[in-house]
Symmetry: C2
Subunit: 656 residues, 2 copies
Amino acid sequence: MATTVHKTAFPFDKARLEALLLRRFFYAPAFEIYRGVAGLYDYGPPGSSLQANIINEWRKHFIIEEGMLEIDTTILTPAPVFETSGHVARFADWMVKDTKTGDVLRADHLVKNVLEARLAGDKEARGIAAEPKEEDALKRQPKRKDKAAKVAPVRVADEVVAEYERILAQIDNYSGPELGQLCRDHKIVNPETGNEVTEPQPFNLMFTTSIGPTGQHPGYLRPETAQGHFVNFQRLLEFNNGRVPFASAQIGRSFRNEISPRAGLLRVREFTMAEIEHFVDPEDKRHERFSELRDIELNLLDRHTQAAGSSVPKRMTVGEAVEKGVIANETLGYFVARIYLFLAKIGVNPKRLRFRQHMANEMAHYATDCWDAEIENSTGWTECVGCADRAAYDLSVHAKRTGAPLVVREALKEPIVTEKEVPEFNKKLMGKTFGKDLPVVTQVVSTMSEEELIKLKGQLAQGEAVIISPDGRKFKLTPEILTIERQTLKQSIREFTPNVIEPSFGLGRILYTLLEHSFWSREQDADRGVLSLPVIVAPTKVLIVPLSTKKFDELVQEVSSKLRKAGVFSRVDDSNQSIGRRYARNDELGTPFGLTLDFASVQHRTMTLRERDTTEQLIGNIEEVIAVVIDLCNGMIEWAEACQRLPRYTGTQNVE
Amino acid sequence: MATTVHKTAFPFDKARLEALLLRRFFYAPAFEIYRGVAGLYDYGPPGSSLQANIINEWRKHFIIEEGMLEIDTTILTPAPVFETSGHVARFADWMVKDTKTGDVLRADHLVKNVLEARLAGDKEARGIAAEPKEEDALKRQPKRKDKAAKVAPVRVADEVVAEYERILAQIDNYSGPELGQLCRDHKIVNPETGNEVTEPQPFNLMFTTSIGPTGQHPGYLRPETAQGHFVNFQRLLEFNNGRVPFASAQIGRSFRNEISPRAGLLRVREFTMAEIEHFVDPEDKRHERFSELRDIELNLLDRHTQAAGSSVPKRMTVGEAVEKGVIANETLGYFVARIYLFLAKIGVNPKRLRFRQHMANEMAHYATDCWDAEIENSTGWTECVGCADRAAYDLSVHAKRTGAPLVVREALKEPIVTEKEVPEFNKKLMGKTFGKDLPVVTQVVSTMSEEELIKLKGQLAQGEAVIISPDGRKFKLTPEILTIERQTLKQSIREFTPNVIEPSFGLGRILYTLLEHSFWSREQDADRGVLSLPVIVAPTKVLIVPLSTKKFDELVQEVSSKLRKAGVFSRVDDSNQSIGRRYARNDELGTPFGLTLDFASVQHRTMTLRERDTTEQLIGNIEEVIAVVIDLCNGMIEWAEACQRLPRYTGTQNVE
């Protein structure tokens, strides 16, 4: 009964989406009336609510489902913490300056933009349509066009094209000096001015501040929430009764002083993250629920494929990926698959989602394996979630710096019993015998291997033995001076530093790509945008539309109060505009259901229910319709089932 | 059937509560393994969950109940915004330095601590017990004892005692120079060193940073979320279809570089706030739902009472307070009462809650009236919520600085029609007649009052008129040069800058005082602490306790999965400790209900249900017990009713 909606009839139009998002105040540049600062955005009511709903689903999917320990740690961080973690020395991007204007550019972005522009110019010169191949739905989006990087159509030699493509496939893999070399080799200049650029310099991305009135505590705004988990490891472990594996989770703001934030919510200076630190035995990275997810198929772009200059992912199950060693271990694979399920659940198009493995140079210095969930949008493939095996790096460096025992002590079921040859010296007699050479003799014996000790023991059993010091002198030993005995040692506690698997979500990037994936225009009216957000994340679930103001106040109160009691978030639109215009506004806001109250509602207690994507309408008794809409919002039924429970509305189509 | 629990049998012991909170990781000093920085705290799992539940109730009580517009704006703020708001010039505390050591002290705290210590010493010398009067339950808490401020028992003259008490009653009312004068007049020195202190200097409490790679954008971390609302006013108004009143709301981090943060969560450098900005017509501050709350009784400590040196609040209904002008207007009164209801709902003891009006000097320069919700705890009365009428200050200053029209344009139902005498000049003829004196003549006529114009019009009707310029010269006017006509003017739009009523909540302070109000020890065991947190805010609602591990895994899974589906947050404690110890731990965690699974559960599918405060236990079929516990957690029934639905458990008391 439900109509199929062709949402892809019109090509994606980014400018139109952006106008919608601003007009409906999903988000807007912060401090706009002060002409703003790049990289800062404020979320208005629908954006704020969409974000809250995504966070709510995240909490259910990860924290509650897996019994994680949620924490809330400070943003302000004293400098020593980031000195230890390596951020002060290494959390930097490479920047270049225009040699004449002093304008600052991010080095890798400069190389990428210029080479991409040259390839585009080459294609144009060769007369190859810039249009994507028809069969490749994923590439139907217009690619990012950086105005500054546009170049005239100029042919490039075939081997140079190949070289550019090779560079672009591994653009994240270059160091600063290598980026500098690329600029020189390929005559890359600031495309806005034509001026040369300086050698790449590192620019630390952390915001600095000073804590306290005397300025004695330099501090940073955290660029990630992770350190807040690590420094609290002991308390978390104790809270979990001393056992691993367990995970802590945190949702909160982080800050990065981006060199040139540009692409809307995709590269900002202040953002909300959700991070999990899953602490695991380094000798056992199996996951007890891995079998539940083994058969999930993923698009995996591993590092070998990238190094070979390709960006075509392999499709395989997570089970196969772990077996073949493409993904390093079960726990890492488990989280990669859980991330996939979460993103699909909130409405990201799974066909436009891939997992890309970090290349050797790109990976954080401590990580052993790292996979980014990349989602395709109008700017290309964007990293939205990172999932790294950070090994024991973090806990080890903090333990070393502070002396805190950031370890797990595990009672061994069976103590480990070892036997060992142990030398015992008669110090008094040795002193008499060797005088000032005593330490030399002790040192030689103490550093002997098990094998050497056994040999020495045999010689002593014969009456005497001779050892040679590092500087070639000989010393004679007797059984009175030295005895060597075999002893049994018993170890009942195993102490180890857990490894950390870290899934780390950039919520703003996910939110923005989700908006792109949800946006389309109606066939009959290309100017009418719709955001087909899934019910679970839609900012408002139900719009209540009284035909006119005042007259229906009581009914409006009744309906909205019943929905509120059922935990369904609704809004009333009693503005003076036509019902059709009010529905159009709410299609833009992504509200999945509309309830219309009119004179029939007062006379016969009926109400119509409208579905956003199909614009189909059903009608029924107010109580029945409320029951259906509550089931729809709680995910108990789909629209098709609602169509079976309520008759189609065939009255005057006053609402479109 | 339910037992009454005497929770107040033991006096409040702050040290024991603090040990509990640290042991169970409600919160802990941040970066403790780095020996921390004062004023920063991390929330562990129970604290984080308690905070999330308080926020959730806040969202329901304010945002959802009143249809507020929730927003999420940035913490980083460019400097011009806080220059405009007045924070750069005035958001400061007065600090003094020890003249020899350079130690920094907050001036008002210094005066307060020293005078309080002298009064305590005087009481001791006079032989007056420092113990509170028995009938005053509110004062049973030990007062804050600042170690540094302790003094020997020394008699103080009666008139000096009176003077000290007068100063302390209005300690928040002094300016910096006045605090300096008090130090000199009363010989107040640094109690830790005995050294004199410098003149008070203002210290701005905002953290500074720099935005962008070139350092060209100085910025601050916001000390409140309010400016994020004001700068977005136009978009919010548009979202609300151009109408006032409406409110925006925001929950988020703010930062204040406190001079000497000390009292745990009560004075910190980074904290979570919840703020509402209610925009209202300055000419109509009535509130449409005020009648619902009119009869709520409040403890009000108005500014006249304080100025008279008293701190005994008046008890009156909010209706009476607004009528008598104690509270400035209905909307302000409405929010004061709503704040009261919210705090009581989450478990704050209403007897230890008062509303104190700001005194003239203390109030922010822009506010017209301001009331703080103060909650009593072991450190005294602590401001936890502010509720201010900020008038049109904020929108006006931002509009002036940026030129943005931060106003409401309201279509008048009936246009305002006015009649007015309007002069019209024959400029050509005037030029000929008066030459360079033309502007003088025009100026004189244009600035005439209605009355003068009518008189002039009468003279012109006679043929000619004479006017006199400010420097005494006479000019002759004729009807050819000047005509004066009565015109009808019609105004159909009223433009105004809304006023702002701002309820502003410090969530950490509320959370901490709530913990104090919830803490007690069992009569039979003074060492066993209990946190009687209300079900709605308790971090975990249900503890599932299997008698031993492994054997009950399936049942544990069944019960926890059913609770999860019903939206009830439970935890399993399958540690090796006795059930009694596990319950004791969870009393400390404030978990209201416990479910015990034992061998009877496997054989007969029964389960016991334990209530935290009474330690009473009920028993029943697993399904029945789950149904009861879900109703308890959702607030559908109280414990007394649960006792009627399930029989008392009279088996072996294995759980205490």
